[in-house]
């Protein structure tokens, strides 16, 4: 059984997700490979529209199909491919093995049921518990995510909670069936800065207590530095760099990663004069007709003719450190 301990929990291999639009086929995810080990925290970083959310949603097959379509690749969950799985089999994976927390806590809960009912609903579905026992579990989960007066609050409706509290409810719901992997899709983006820190702390605490792996989707490098063990940088539907977190911040190899790190606001530099926050010029290319060659070429300060001629493959530059740049 040595294979099972070294095999990753989740292994996304060469995943391609296409969306049919009126203007043509959008290749939202174009050959992405990401591994998540048991108990590991992997951050997927990138700008809006780089395909990170689509990748996350596709793992649980939550993208709308049609217009979306898995055009290729594998999603190996403990060695089993989820791509050809029928919807019945897929349902037994959701929440029970892989759970997800979304970006918008304000709209992710159904306004007409109490939060207790909504958490109990998962438990009843996946653990086949009775109404009473499921509600008890829901209250216990609310307590676990530090919602004060959980017993009473379980009977409140989502609109009676603040954004941060709702995100706690979402996390309680996601963790209620003890999943092995939690996908958190920008869980702090819609929240105030102080609340963001609390939610990240909560995620770290939950991970410590329950021991699940976390795949955190974010665009904030600050968040990455705080929680990640390993980082995957995505750009225009592709992985451009992947490395352990220390290695990535100490030695970013891809010009895009370098740009992302330079664009983190720094309090020590902000105080000095003449320091302006550096941004990456230009915008993400259209995924409708992606450019030939390196997709970052148009925005890259080191661009050469070779970059525009052929797409650089992802290659290992140091142990555990891969990147897709010819430099």
């Amino acid at each position: 059984m040595s294979a099972s301990t070294t095999d990753p929990l989740l292994s996304i291999r060469d995943l391609r997700v296409h969306f049919a639009t009126d203007d043509g086929m959008v290749r939202a995810v174009d050959g992405v490979s990401i591994d998540v080990g048991r108990g590991e925290t992997v951050c997927v970083v990138g700008e809006s529209g780089c395909g990170k959310t689509v990748t996350a949603m596709t793992v649980l097959k939550l993208i709308a199909m049609p217009p979306g379509r898995i055009a290729g690749g594998q999603i190996l969950w403990q060695g089993r491919d989820l791509v050809p799985l029928k919807s019945d089999a897929m349902r037994s994976i959701r929440a029970k093995e892989i759970a997800i927390v979304f970006q918008e806590p304000m709209t992710s809960l159904n306004p007409v049921y109490t939060v207790g009912e909504q958490i109990a609903e998962v438990v009843r579905q996946q653990e086949k518990l009775g109404r009473r026992a499921a509600m008890d579990r829901a209250i216990e989960m609310l307590r676990l995510v530090h919602i004060p007066n959980a017993q009473r609050r379980a009977h409140d409706y989502p609109h009676q909670f603040s954004g941060g509290m709702r995100q706690r409810v979402m996390i309680a719901m996601a963790l209620s069936c003890n999943p092995k992997l939690l996908i958190a899709d920008e869980p702090t983006t819609a929240l105030d800065v102080t609340i963001q820190a609390q939610i990240l702390d909560l995620l770290a605490e939950m991970k410590e207590r329950l021991g699940m792996a976390v795949m955190l989707i974010t665009h904030a490098m600050g968040v990455v530095a705080e929680v990640a063990q390993r980082v995957v940088v995505m750009y225009a539907g592709k992985v451009v760099e992947e490395a352990p977190v220390r290695e990535l911040f100490a030695n970013p190899r891809h010009p895009y990663t370098q740009g992302l790190i330079r664009s983190i606001p720094r309090i020590d530099l902000a105080a000095t004069h003449h320091h302006r926050l550096e941004a990456i010029p230009g915008t993400v290319p259209s995924l409708l007709n992606p450019p030939v060659g390196c997709r970052f070429a148009a925005r890259c300060r080191y661009v050469t003719d070779a970059c525009r001629a052929a797409e650089p493959p992802l290659r290992e530059v140091a142990p555990g450190h891969k990147m897709a740049c010819i430099l």
């Binding site: 349902r91 959701r94 996946q126």
Partner: protein, 319 residues
């Protein structure tokens, strides 16, 4: 909640008073006279006619007439019909059950069509089923009821001779045969009203469901591993019912109004045909009473819509 209901009913009083003032004034200003027939009848001498008018208070100034009508109303006296001399409340109670039965059955039919078809179409937008349902719904509510009514009469009563086209209240049968006859003669008016309303509601249900389907919490429900049927019923349809129930409740009074035409076509002796014959005969007490009943229905269904809305949507609170 009780507090809220009481307050709403208190607010209804001035509206009902306002409605009655406007109605009374309009009827008084309208041309025509309930005694027109007597005027052309040579057997009735003019002084007898004048005496009759005076005894009924028809020559008093309008505000005095209104006040005497109102005080009688407050005592629960709805007055007598000028034409048939039957107490108005008796006339209304005679007619109301037929109208309620026909309209009730047609609205149930409308919902029985609109809910499943609308939901099914919305969960498969732009599918063949959706396209066909949409087209039929569009045809359904584009055709006025007086046209489809006549069409049905032509087809089922005259060509095929399957169904009676005049609605009779006095059926000389008992037990099952009576029910059978009632059902047979109700089929066409119920179908005409129900299909028309059902067509409009199908489109409304479809768009209400489509609005909910794309919301984030539906994706959350799916991420919980719930079966698709449960996601649809509990997390889509349940939420989409909030605007649908409100619309249905608010439209009810309008349905009563629209039913007048259908009642006329099929000669259903309901409250609508009572109103029309009363208007044609300048029978003021009956017109006042029937329109008042309609006004009461509007207020009742408005209140019902608000209460149902709050019951369906926990974000609404009554204060």
């Amino acid at each position: 909640m009780l507090h809220y209901l009481i307050r709403r009913l208190m607010i209804a009083i001035p509206s009902l008073l306002g409605i009655s003032v406007i109605l009374f004034t309009v009827l008084a200003l309208a041309p025509g006279d309930p005694f027109e027939e007597l005027a052309t009848n040579p057997a009735v001498p003019p002084d007898v006619r004048a005496h009759l008018r005076a005894s009924l208070g028809l020559d008093d100034p309008i505000h005095l007439r209104y006040i005497s009508w109102l005080t009688a109303m407050l005592r629960g006296e709805w007055g007598f019909s000028f034409v048939s001399r039957i107490p108005v409340e008796q006339l209304i109670l005679q007619r109301l059950p037929t109208t309620v039965a026909v309209i009730g059955a047609s609205q149930i039919l409308a919902l029985a069509i609109a809910l499943p078809v609308g939901v099914y179409a919305a969960t498969r937008p732009y599918s063949i089923f959706d396209q066909i349902a949409n087209t039929l719904a569009f045809v359904g509510f584009s055709l006025p009821t007086f046209f489809t009514g006549l069409l049905l009469i032509l087809l089922f009563s005259i060509q095929l001779d399957w169904l009676p086209f005049v609605f009779r209240t006095s059926i000389e049968a008992t037990g099952w045969r009576w029910w059978w006859e009632m059902v047979r003669q109700s089929i066409m008016p119920v179908a005409v009203l129900g299909l028309f309303q059902g067509a409009a509601w199908t489109r409304f249900v479809r768009s209400a469901v489509l609005d909910v389907v794309r919301l984030d919490h539906v994706t959350t429900a799916r991420s919980k591993g719930l079966p698709e049927s449960r996601v649809t019923m509990r997390h889509v349809v349940r939420n989409a019912m909030i605007p649908v129930v409100t619309l249905v409740a608010l439209q009810m009074p309008a349905v009563f109004g629209g039913a007048i035409v259908t009642e006329q076509i099929f000669r259903v002796p309901g409250i609508g045909s009572l109103l029309i014959s009363a208007i044609l005969a300048n029978d003021t007490p009956v017109i006042m009473a029937v329109t008042f009943v309609f006004a009461g229905l509007v207020i009742f269904f408005n209140l019902l819509a608000d209460v149902l809305y709050g019951w369906l949507d926990p974000r609404i609170s009554y204060r």
